[in-house]
Amino acid sequence: MTERHPIPNFVGSHDSERLMGALKRGATRRDILSMLLAGGMQAGLAGGLASTVMSAHAQTPRRGGRIKVAGATAAATDTLDPAKQSNQTDYSRCNMLYNGLTSLDGSLTPQPALAESFTTSDAKTWVFKLRPGVTFHDGKALAPADVVYSVMRHKDPATASKAKVLADQITSVTASGPAEVTVVLAAPNADLPVILGTFHFHIVKEGTTDFATGIGTGPYKLKEFKPGVRSLVVRNEAYWKPGKPYLDEIEFVGIGDESARVNALLSGGMDLVGSVNPRSVERVKGTPGFAIFTTQSGQYSDLIMRKDVGPGANPDFALAMKHLFDREQMKKAIALDHAVVANDQPIDPTNRFYFAGLPQRPFDADKAKFHLQKSGVTGKVPVVTSPAALYSVEMALVMQQTAQRIGLDLDVKRMPADGYWSNHWLNSPVGFGNVNPRPSADVLLTQFFQSDAAWNESRWKNPKFDQLLLASRAETDLAKRKQMYADMQTMIHQEAGIGIPLFLASIDGHTSKLKGMSPIPLGGLMGYAFAENVWLDA
C-alpha cells in the first residue's frame, strides 16, 4: 500500500522533477515558494502547491525511530538458524539478520544481493561474483568460504534443513576466486538465483553451528533473542546497502491470538502486525491512524481429489467438483474480497509465468450435474477439511450447498488442525490442502505436480508434463519458458485432481506513520522483508 501524493497536474512533470530535485538538495518551503512565484504563479496557489510538494517529499525515507512488530506465532522453537526456519516469524526475524546471495523483488524476479552478479551459459554451472566490502556483524569480511559453507550445509542430513530437497540438486559449490563462487548443479536449472534468494539460503559465517548470536550480514544486529518471547535488533551501521536500514531498533514479538494482535495494534502497543483476519479489516480501517496492507500472493487452499483411490479416480467426478465452486461467492463471503478468483491453475496472477489466456471455469450446476452423472458416483462423498487448511471448512460448506442442488451429498468432515498434515492431508481420497506461496513456478510445480513428487496431492501422473517441467527448468529464453509454463498450467487446469477456487491474500495492519511497504508475493509483511525497507514518518 504505497500511497503516493502526485503533484497536481498544473505543474508539468519537468517542473515537479525540478522541485523535487531542489528539495533533495535541501530547499526550504520558502525556496520552493519563491521558485514557483518566480514562474509567475499566484501566491495562494503557490502556497498550497508548496505544501503538497513538501508532503510528497516526506515520502522519502526518514532515518531513526523504533517500532514494535508482531508476527502470528511465538514458540520455544523460534530459531535463528536459517536452515530451520519454519514460519513467518522465523522468516521475518532472519531477514533482519541475514542476507542471501540474491533477493526476490515484487514479481519474484531475483535481484543481486550479496552476489553482485550471477551468470551462466548452460543453467548448470553458475558463477556468483560476491559484492566487495560486505562484512558480518562481528567485522569479518564476507568470503567465498562462507557461501560454500552456507549452501552446502543444507545437503548434510544432520543439519535437518528444511531446504534439503532444494539443495540436493546442487552438486558442488566452490570458491573459484577471491570474491567468486561457482555452483554446479546436477541438472540445468534456470531458477537457481531464485532458489538462492529464498529464506533458507541465507549466508552465515563459515563453520557456524551455534546460531544464538545471529551473526549475519543483514540490516540489523541482534541485541536480544528470547525464543517464544521476543527479539530485539538494532541498526547495523555498517550495512552494505547505502542509507539502509532506516530504523534504529525493532522489537519483534509473536502474538498467537489474532484478536490480541489486532488489539495490540489498535491500542498503540504495536506499529505493525502480521496475519490480520479479513473480519478485522474494517475495525483497523475504521480507527484513525491505522491502515491495512494487503499482499496478493500465490497462496491457495485446494480441493484434492485423488486419482488413485475414491471417486476422484473418475476424471468426470473431478470436473464436476471443479464446476461446483461458486468462486465469486467464496471470494465475497469467505475471504471478504481479500482474494482473487483462481482457475484451477496453481500459478497466480502476480507471478511472471501466470498464464492469463486460460478461459475461466465458471460455476455451472448443469455442467457439474452432467459430469457427475457421467462419472456414476452416487452416495455420500466424504470431504475432509480442517482449520489447518485456511478457509477449507467454509469452502466445503459452500460446496455442500451447491452440491445438494445437483443431487450430490457431500459429507464435510472437520478435522482438528493439530496433526492434520501428517494424518489427513495426502491420505484422504477427497479433502483440502493448503499451499503457501512458493518462490518460483518451478519449485511449486516440482513439489506439487511432478508425477513422483512427495506432495503430488492428487497423484496425477503425466509423463508429458514431467518432460515439459524438466525442459522449462533448463530453458534460459524467457519467452519460450513462458509458453512452456502456459502449457503446463493448461494441463493441470484440465486433468489434475486439484481444484483451486481462490488465491488468498495476506493482510497486515500498521500505523499510518509506518511507510515504505510494498508487496512481495512471498507472503505478508513485504514477503517478510519489511525490516530494511520501512521507516517511520515523523
Binding site: 544432520a158 534439503k164 517464544g228 514479538v253 490480541a260 491500542s267 493439530d418 496433526g419 494424518n423 493448503n434
Partner: protein
C-alpha cells in the same frame, strides 16, 4: 502435637511423590497417544521421510518410548529434567525463563484477591441475608459465571483500545518502575481476580456460616460476646480449615490454569510454554511442566492441610 503432625506430614509427602510418579506415567502415555511426534509437528507439511528420519535422530526420538521415559525419570531423580526435543535447549532453562513470570503474576493476584475475598466472604457471612450479603453474593455468582476470556477481552477493548489507559499486552521485559509494573499487570490481575475472588468468597462465606450455625456459637452469644468477637475469636478459627482449602484450590489454578489470560495478554508464562510443548509434541518439556503443576498443586493442598491441622485445637493439644 509434633508426632501427629509429623506423621501426617510424612504421609502427605509420600502420597504426593507417589501421585507425581503416577502423573508422569499418565502424561507420558497420553502424549504418546497424540497423533504425530515432535519431528512431524515441526516439519508439518514439509515432512518427507528422509527429513523426518534425520530430525528424529537429532531429537532422540529413534529410542523406544519406555526407554525414553526411564531415561527421563532417571534424569529427573538426579535433578536434570532433560533437554527439550524440539529446541535442544535444557528444559530447566526454558522453564527457568518462564516460571518467575508465572509466579510473579500469581503472587500479585494472590496479594490482591485473598484479602478482598476473605473480607467479603466473612462480612457477608456475618451479615447474611442483609442487602450487602445479597448484592455481594449475587455479584460473585454473576462474575464467576462469566468466562474469563470474555472479561479479559472486554477489558482490553475498553481500557486499551477505547480509552488507551492500559497496554493491550502485558510486557514484563521493560518494567523499570512501580508505575509500569502496575500498568502491565493491571488487566491480567484484574481478570484473574474476577474468577478466583468470587470462588474464594463464596466458599469462605459458606464455611463461616457453617460455624455460625453451630451450637457453641449460640453459647458464645448467650454469654454476651460482641458480634466481632464472636466471629473473629470463635467462629473463624474453626473455619480456617475449609477456608485454607478454598484458598489453596483457587491459587493452584493460578499456576497452570491461566492459559487464556496468558494468551490474551501475550504474557510469557509457563502455561503457554506447556501448551506450546503439547502442540509440538515436546515430551520432556510437557512432562516437566506437568510435574511442576502437579507439585505446585500438592504443595498448596498440603499446606492447606497443615494449616487446618495446626488451627485445630483438638489436634494441636492432644
Amino acid at each position: 502435637m509434633n508426632a501427629i503432625v509429623l506423621k501426617l506430614l510424612g504421609q502427605r509427602i509420600a502420597l504426593a511423590l507417589l501421585s507425581l510418579l503416577a502423573v508422569s506415567v499418565v502424561v507420558f502415555a497420553i502424549t504418546a497417544l497424540l497423533p504425530g511426534d515432535a519431528a512431524q509437528e515441526q516439519l508439518g507439511q514439509d515432512a518427507t521421510p528422509e527429513a523426518l528420519a534425520a530430525l528424529r535422530v537429532q531429537m532422540g526420538l529413534d529410542v523406544p518410548g519406555p526407554l525414553r521415559y526411564l531415561r527421563w525419570l532417571g534424569g529427573l531423580l538426579t535433578g536434570d529434567p532433560g533437554t527439550s526435543s524440539t529446541t535442544q535447549l535444557p528444559v530447566a532453562q526454558l522453564i527457568g525463563s518462564r516460571l518467575p513470570n508465572s509466579l510473579l503474576l500469581a503472587a500479585i493476584t494472590a496479594l490482591f484477591s485473598v484479602p478482598i475475598a476473605l473480607t467479603l466472604g466473612i462480612a457477608s457471612a456475618v451479615w447474611r441475608g442483609s442487602l450487602f450479603d445479597r448484592i455481594a453474593s449475587s455479584a460473585a455468582v454473576a462474575i464467576v459465571s462469566v468466562p474469563e476470556f470474555l472479561v479479559a477481552t472486554l477489558m482490553v477493548l475498553l481500557f486499551a483500545v477505547k480509552l488507551r489507559w492500559l497496554p493491550a499486552l502485558s510486557y514484563v521485559n521493560d518494567i523499570e518502575s512501580l508505575g509500569q509494573l502496575l500498568k502491565a499487570f493491571a488487566m491480567p490481575v484484574l481478570s484473574l481476580c474476577c474468577v478466583i475472588v468470587a470462588q474464594m468468597m463464596r466458599m469462605s462465606r459458606a464455611a463461616v456460616i457453617d460455624q455460625l450455625e453451630a451450637p457453641y456459637i449460640e453459647m458464645v452469644r448467650l454469654k454476651g460476646a460482641s458480634a466481632l468477637r464472636m466471629v473473629l475469636a470463635h467462629a473463624l478459627p474453626n473455619a480456617v480449615g475449609p477456608i485454607a482449602n478454598a484458598v489453596a484450590l483457587s491459587l493452584s489454578y493460578l499456576l497452570g490454569g491461566v492459559i487464556i489470560v496468558e494468551t490474551i495478554f501475550n504474557y510469557p508464562g509457563i502455561a503457554k510454554l506447556m501448551v506450546d510443548g503439547v502442540t509440538q509434541r515436546d515430551m520432556p518439556l510437557v512432562q516437566a511442566c506437568a510435574m511442576l503443576f502437579c507439585a505446585g498443586y500438592l504443595i498448596l493442598v498440603t499446606f492447606a492441610d497443615i494449616c487446618s491441622i495446626v488451627a485445630n485445637p483438638r489436634l494441636r493439644h492432644r
